[in-house]
Every structure is written in C-alpha cells, then in structure tokens.
Amino acid sequence: MMQNTFNDKYTAARIIRKIKSISGKRKIKLMHVCGTHEQTITKNGLRALLPENIEVVPGPGCPVCITPAREIDKAIYLSHSGAIITTYGDMLRVPGGNSSLAREKAQGGDIRIVYSPFEAVEIAKRNPDKNIVFLGIGFETTAPMTAEVVKNAPPGNFSVLCSHRLVPPAMELLLKGGYDIDGFIDPGHVSTIIGTAPYVPLSEKYHISQVISGFEPLDVLMSIFMLLGQIKNNMAIVENEYIRAVKPEGNLHAQKLMRDVFEPCSKEWRGLPVIPDASLKIKPEFSDYDAEIRFDINPRINSEDYGAACGIDCPLCGNILKGLSNPADCELFGKACTPENPVGACMVSSEGTCNIAYRYGINQI
C-alpha cells in the first residue's frame, strides 16, 4: 500500500517541474548522509532529472565505509586470540590494515555473520567455553539494539567491540570544513530514532537548510523541492518530509537505551579525521561487556602505516566521503577495485558510493 503511493510518475513529473521553477541559476550543492538515499537516487536516475545547477552529493552516510581499518584490525586481533567474532555481513570484506575478516575466515578464523546482535548473544549461550565478541557498527539506527542486548544481562562470555558512531556531529564537521554545502537531506531512518531536535543547532549555527527525507524516489524529490524552497527564501530550518515514520521526538525508548549504555567519545572515521563526540563507547557500569576493557587488544600495526585515507591503498575514499570527489575520479574504479575485490571501503557495502556507482552506472553519480 504505502509504498506504491509514493512511487507514481505523474507526481514525480509534477515535483520536477516545480523544482525547475524555483531552482534559480546559482550552483546549489545538497548533501545526503545516508547510503540508502544514495541507492534511491542512483537506482532511479534522479540526478539526471534535476536542473544542471543542482548537485546532490553523498556524504559519510555508510557506516561500513566509515569504520576505520584500525577497528577491523582489533577484531582480527581478537579472532587470532581465539574469540568467535560476530558482526553484520557487510563488515567481512572491509579492508583492515593488511587483512579483512573475510580473509581471516577463509584461513580458519571463527567469524560469523549475524543479522542482529541478539543472534550474537545466542551464539554466546551455545558456546559457554568461548569468548564471543560482537563487532557493533552503525549509526543511531543500530546502536540502540547493541545497547539493548548489553543492558539485558547477556552471558559473561559475550562482549562488544564498540564501533558505533553518531551522524549529527559528522554533519557539523563538514559544515565547519567549509565544503560549500547549501542544504542537507537528513537521514530518515536515523531520524526515526533521534527525532528532529539534534539537527536544529546545525541550522541555527551554520544557517543550513535541512529536510528529513524518506526513501522512495518521490520522498527524495520532494525533499529536494523543500530544500530549494528554503534556500530561495533564505531559510535555515529543519523540516520533516518523512512524517509517516519520523516523530518529532523520535523513539524515546531507543534514545534511553543509548544514553544508559553508551557515552560519546572522539575517534577518527575512515577517510575523515577524529570527530569530536561522534563515536560511542560503553559506559563504565557495563565495562564487563566492553571488549576493549576485557581484553588487552594490541594489533601490531603502527598508526603511521594506516596512511591518510582508508588506511590502505584507496586513493580517494576520504574525498568521496566528504562529497568532494566521485567514483569516476578514481583510477582504480572498476579496474583494480570492484565489489568482488574491493580496494577501498566505499566499494564494499551495498550502501557505499563506489559500490552503488559500480552496480547502477557511474554516469548516474
């Protein structure tokens, strides 16, 4: 039902006509920070429908892509020490400093894909004589679930290697960096959890227009239209296009779980520097479940070896995550770097910008 309603060609044509009528001539750069938005835009060829002066660039919106090599190496280290590593499927092929979890698995490491942190707890119950480590990654959309299992007294052999990150502080970093972003298409799913309030200070401080958007093609087109309307009228507020799923207050229960179990900390993101308070760590009360505290993790790779961007051979992920380059600019794209054989993290996940460009066509980016 609801899905079809947001997918009809007549309304699309109508929104595009209106976009054209209010877009003006000046170059306008809109950024989204969600891999699922990039999927919608690329798969439906939405960029080709927009006036030439309107650019929509992907930002650091794929949690797989922004997990740094160093954090993968910690999981690999724990696997070498005999723990069972559990994580989401996309994480397996993400390059670490000189290996990946997929490669470790092929060489006999006990690394298991789970659909939910709950499954990792089940594995811990079935293997009482083993340490089970859940590599918890993702933004505000997956952090509450990790918090939920930690809070509900999982078995003593279960722990979390916490790689969760927060979206609004990363948006602020890009705004501070002066990348000439005129408006943000805010991530709909993250917003179902955090609501509208965390974006408001960004609009107030940086005079940036924002619209929280759903994921059907019409949602994205309508959000672009709403952003252009704000920009035309020199407004910088947070509007919610996705009212059928996002409540202004968000999901209070999920927010409380996150507050109870995690506290913000400052860590680097892959391709980006250390972002203040944009990562989560487990609070001291739950340190029994914090793999960083339980185990003496010591991956034998020096900081300098990680290099500037991905920490590996990927020349451009850093710029791609900031919306400064697109996959066509990378000489390895589609040659040395493919989804089967990713060089950089942006090629790994189905939400990574390079992976999406590879599957749907580079000219769509």
Binding site: C34, T141, P144, H189, A245, N251
Partner: protein, 73 residues
C-alpha cells in the same frame, strides 16, 4: 545493512512479533515501540522494529505535498 524494511505485524507474543514483508515471514523484537498492534506497519532494523509507519500520516503527506506544490511558483 542499514536497510530498514517496512513490514506488517501479523501476531504479537510479548516482545516478539511475527511480521509479513510482502510474503516473507520473519520474527522481530518490538520492545522499542510501545503501542504496536496487529495490522500495523513497522520499520525493522537488524531484527528490531524501530518505528511505526503511520497510514494517516502517509495520506496527510500526499495532501501536504499537493498544497506545497500548488503554492510554489
């Protein structure tokens, strides 16, 4: 992995619900939502329902769009 998929609640048993994803049946934890009923549409993320999809709001959205588009020049 970030894909959140809407699904229809078919049965509820405590914190667990059986959901219909257009023919594919799967269980999910609904403890993060307080007022889920059979027949509701929910968005599911890594095994947990995170938000209710509101049908009235969906219709409201279309009405709102119509007004906004009509007003714009």
């Amino acid at each position: 992995m970030c894909l959140a998929v809407p699904a229809k609640v078919t049965t509820i048993n405590g914190d667990e619900a059986v959901l219909d994803y257009g023919g594919v049946i799967r269980k999910a934890n609904i403890s993060m939502l307080s007022d889920v009923k059979v027949g509701d549409y929910v968005l599911v993320h890594v095994g947990y329902a995170i938000s209710k999809m509101d049908e009235d709001e969906a219709l409201e959205t279309l009405k709102l769009w119509d007004e906004m588009l009509a007003a714009a020049q």
